[in-house]
Symmetry: C2
Subunit: 592 residues, 2 copies
């Protein structure tokens, strides 16, 4: 690009003195600088760049190797996701790219927080390698909080020294969401060093600070945070904007903030908003779309389309300092999306660096999945689980149970009278409406297993007709399992281990559905359609054996071991009370 020959060629193409590679005619172009639509434009492309955007009549005679008639459709810059965990889709980068390119997304900032919790530096290296050279450009935010609490049995600990070398890679664009707000406010040395290193490398530092205001917010921002994707409260958002944070509007699988955030957007501040998905499932992408789905919703809620498109493109580029992209303008990389209209944002054609990568409903570029590294294919190191692991003594017959909430990752800590066996152990079969939950350490074969009681996973008054186990279990990704039968639970865990990671359902000793996730127990090279289909089958099976309709059988379970979300969680070393940030016992003891 910064080569005189290349410049000369582009300058000549722009003037029609040299044939360009591609000429898109009769397009309505969204101008993300002035935030308006330019009617009837021709876009000339060469050297992988946009070389000119001109009125159709101004360059009708200019030669091109190929001409595409856009027939009055709308041409946007390739869409960008400002913050996503690719692992949440269970797709490896190539499969993910294939899925989102079809939605017009040509650039994402991916925070490989999940795989880093399993495989540490190797996980980040894998994501960098597996995403190199894809037509959907993948930038990497370095996971800042691995493990998520100091007492986690995670697969890795990433301190400042571990992260620093990655900044040499030009696709590393930021230090990922700094969730450890108390660590910043309390001046944790290693955390401050991580921030300092990111800044010294000229990188963004991504924030994560819902509800943070006042002096705490100022202290957090002075440290270098540049954005937040959590906040939804209008008054707090106002404060975040004035403090200089970019607002990432998140529309994920669970968390959806657009409708709450949108009333805060004004013409004056709109250039400070970006769009992101954070966590999305393959099925969501296939069904609704990716960033284009957020555009659709934003416009339906009343936002003007060019402003919405700016949030999905140039604003993100500006926030992260991505040069030469994010606009349909001369000099920008030719990442482009042609959509049928500015209401549905249904995608007609996508170009990446001037090459057509999606058309006629198909992604048609080669994206060989990166081979699964040997150590990832064997990332599950769990000691043979035994019935003893699931013993849960409740001599008082009063148990602390984790009560799940409908469509909410928080739980309530409740005390319930429970039926126990002759030895005073919780007997799932005698307690309809409750079930057992257990987490098995799987990184180092330490033989640790924590056990608890779950409410609202099973339908009220019902026993689960099977057990489900998964190696996706935030953030440490040990194996979590739930069921009313110890035998089925153990069998499901064994099945997950046998697959070297994944999701399995066992009913009466038989594995009835499973999804292998051979890449670190989190992802698969299978295409999105296959992942979505298998996962749907697993969910259907789970519903059939009595999982509550308001609970996502797989995803909800995968958050039950995340010891930073209130109130009660299960940990590899026992029950954990998030409100007191300490371990507690399942046995609640006799009533006082």
């Amino acid at each position: 690009m910064n080569d005189v020959k290349v410049l000369r060629s582009m300058v000549e193409m722009a003037q029609g003195k040299q044939a360009c590679d591609l000429k898109l005619i009769h397009a309505h172009v969204v101008d993300v600088f002035g935030r308006e639509v330019l009617q009837n434009r021709t876009v000339l492309i060469g050297q992988g760049r946009i070389v000119a955007v001109l009125p159709d009549e101004a360059c009708a005679g200019f030669a091109a190797a190929r001409t595409v008639d856009c027939a009055g459709r709308y041409l946007l810059p390739g869409l960008m996701d400002a913050h996503v965990h690719i692992e949440s889709t269970m797709l490896t980068p190539a499969s993910f790219a294939r899925a989102v390119l079809a939605c017009g997304t040509t650039r994402v900032v991916a925070d490989p927080h999940e795989i880093a919790n399993v495989a540490g530096r190797d996980g980040i290296t894998y994501m960098l390698k597996a995403s190199a050279g894809l037509p959907c450009h993948i930038h990497i935010a370095l996971p800042s909080c691995v493990p998520c609490t100091p007492f986690e049995d995670a697969g890795a600990v990433l301190d400042e020294a571990a992260l620093r070398p990655f900044y040499a890679d030009e696709r590393v664009c930021s230090l990922g969401e700094v969730m450890n707000v108390p660590g910043i406010l309390g001046c944790d040395d290693d955390l401050l060093a991580k921030v300092a290193a990111a800044r010294a490398a000229g990188c963004m530092v991504d924030g994560h600070c819902p509800g943070l205001t006042g002096a705490g917010l100022q202290a957090y921002v002075v440290c270098g945070m540049g954005n937040d994707h959590e906040e939804e409260d209008p008054a707090v958002l106002q404060e975040h904007i004035a403090s200089g944070l970019y607002v990432f509007v998140r529309e994920g699988a669970a968390a959806k903030s657009l409708s709450r955030v949108l009333p805060c957007v004004t013409a004056n501040n709109a250039h400070r908003f970006c769009l992101c998905t954070d966590d999305l499932h393959a099925e969501d992408i296939l069904k609704s779309g990716h960033i284009n789905a957020i555009l659709r919703k934003a416009v339906s809620l009343g936002l003007d389309a060019p402003t919405a498109v700016a949030m999905a493109t140039i604003n993100t580029a500006t926030c992260f300092g991505f040069a030469g992209c994010g606009a349909v303008a001369a000099g920008c990389v030719a990442d482009l999306v042609l959509v049928h209209d500015l209401t549905d944002f249904a995608v007609h054609t996508v170009w990446s660096e001037g090459k057509e990568v999606f058309a006629d409903g198909c992604v048609h570029c080669e994206m060989a999945p990166y081979p699964v590294p040997e150590n990832f294919a064997h990332s599950v190191h769990v000691q043979e689980p035994s019935p003893a692991d699931l013993k849960l003594a409740v001599p008082s017959k009063r148990a602390r149970v984790i009560s799940m909430l409908p469509r909410n990752l928080c739980t309530r800590a409740c005390i319930r009278d429970v039926a126990v066996d002759a030895e005073g152990n919780f007997d799932a079969a005698q307690n309809p409406g409750l079930c057992k939950i257990a987490v098995f350490e799987r990184h180092k074969g330490l033989g640790l297993a924590g056990c608890g009681i779950l409410e609202n996973y099973a339908l009220p008054g019902k026993l689960l007709g099977g057990a489900l186990a998964t190696s996706i279990s935030h953030d440490s990704h040990n194996i979590v399992a739930a069921g009313s039968s110890d035998a089925d639970m153990l069998a499901a865990v064994r099945q997950v281990a046998a697959m070297n990671g994944g999701i399995a359902i066992v009913q009466h000793g038989v594995c009835t559905a499973s999804l292998p996730l051979p890449v670190a127990g989190l992802m698969s090279n299978a295409p999105a359609e296959e992942i979505a289909r298998t996962l749907a089958a697993i969910e259907e099976a789970a519903r059939n054996f009595a999982v509550s309709p308001d609970i996502d059988p797989v995803m909800s379970l995968s958050f039950m071991a995340l010891c930073v979300i209130p109130e009660l969680r299960v940990h590899t070393r026992g029950l954990f009370d998030v409100t007191t940030f300490s371990f507690t016992s399942v046995d609640a003891g006799p009533e006082a």
Copy 2:
């Protein structure tokens, strides 16, 4: 800044756990992100940075080494000039900084185009050294077009190889205004290489493309141009914005574009506008102000104040990629201006990196002027001028004369009947209303002198009662002189040479006013007040000896040798017709 100790200290100050250095209370803060005013704020400062911006009541108890009561005045980020030639003020960087700090300007992008034409790389090096460490931060745009035409007798030729090493200096932020548009469109190799080097260094490329539209504009932009400060036409501006150029609104000594540009500003595109002065005189700054004068005018023309302030601060920072400045927000460098109101923008106090640099009407920080380098103090190398240099044969008695236009740098080429002496030479004393103009090469002592006839410099029907000579003569800065007496002209040129550069008036053999400009014949270490006073005396003297009232005696003359502005100019090698881009003769020959 990116040191853990510093981060820790700022994080603690923001929370009131450690006393900050400075606490500004009861300020109304202009938020340039959301473009609104935050009432009653306290701003905490430490480590040269803003560490917190909080409601007064939220941090009343926080300790500070010093507290300043802003008493309801308005606190803005330090103002920025996006494009200025410091040499135009005739002030060296320290004197310039002193003058503009008093107006609230704490950061400028300076293009040392003038001194580079005299001293080449040494000139740029001088500007870098002389501006280092000043409380008004001076970034440098590397002059792209030295000399301004290939046939100039300038002091230097700066090709790509000459410029490249300067990008290693972190204060070099861009390749300065690329005026040679035909060079870009025609793919001049060295010019493209200059652009490529700037881009490779991650720097901005400043444009200069008035009236450029269509394919030419696209070719210019695809090459990497990022802004333009020349355009005023609304339709063209719209096209420039959509093409991705930042619009620099220029309010200089002569060119004033604000009132024409402002109607193009919308809430949607306002973040793409910056403010600049380009060329300003010391007197203008002392009388009206600097960027604050543009704010005053913008608001008087109806622009909302926060948007105007954003154009003077964060937009410029964003355009050039200046990190951590341009806003009153935690983490930004504490360059701040307290103004009495948002209408007059009269400056009360200015802080640079948290240090008070202007208060009570005075700049009170040490800014020792950088010593004048020996080679600059002797930059005038002119051969002893002789009467022969001023001989102007017009045997036909019909002469091509340069007709000056009121308040306009363009000239008209006219043919006039003139009186000649016995040898057929133009005799100024016999031609009232006309006068002689001559340019003496002064860089290499080549002994070159070009001569012509000037109309409208003297009052109609009058002879000039003296001669004026100046070593400021765009862009090559040879010595230009005008007068009705050859003897006075030669004496004025000798006086300029004797001062090693400057401006001199000679009347009847006596030097009656002079301004030494010992720094390359362009600048002086004297304070702005002294420069303005001396220049005013020179102008008054010139008016007294019959210079037309619509003509600036010094400045207008200094553009008469600039062979890129139509129609007729005088060159060290003769008369130059800009419309045909070739030399021509003063003698127009007999009528056809």
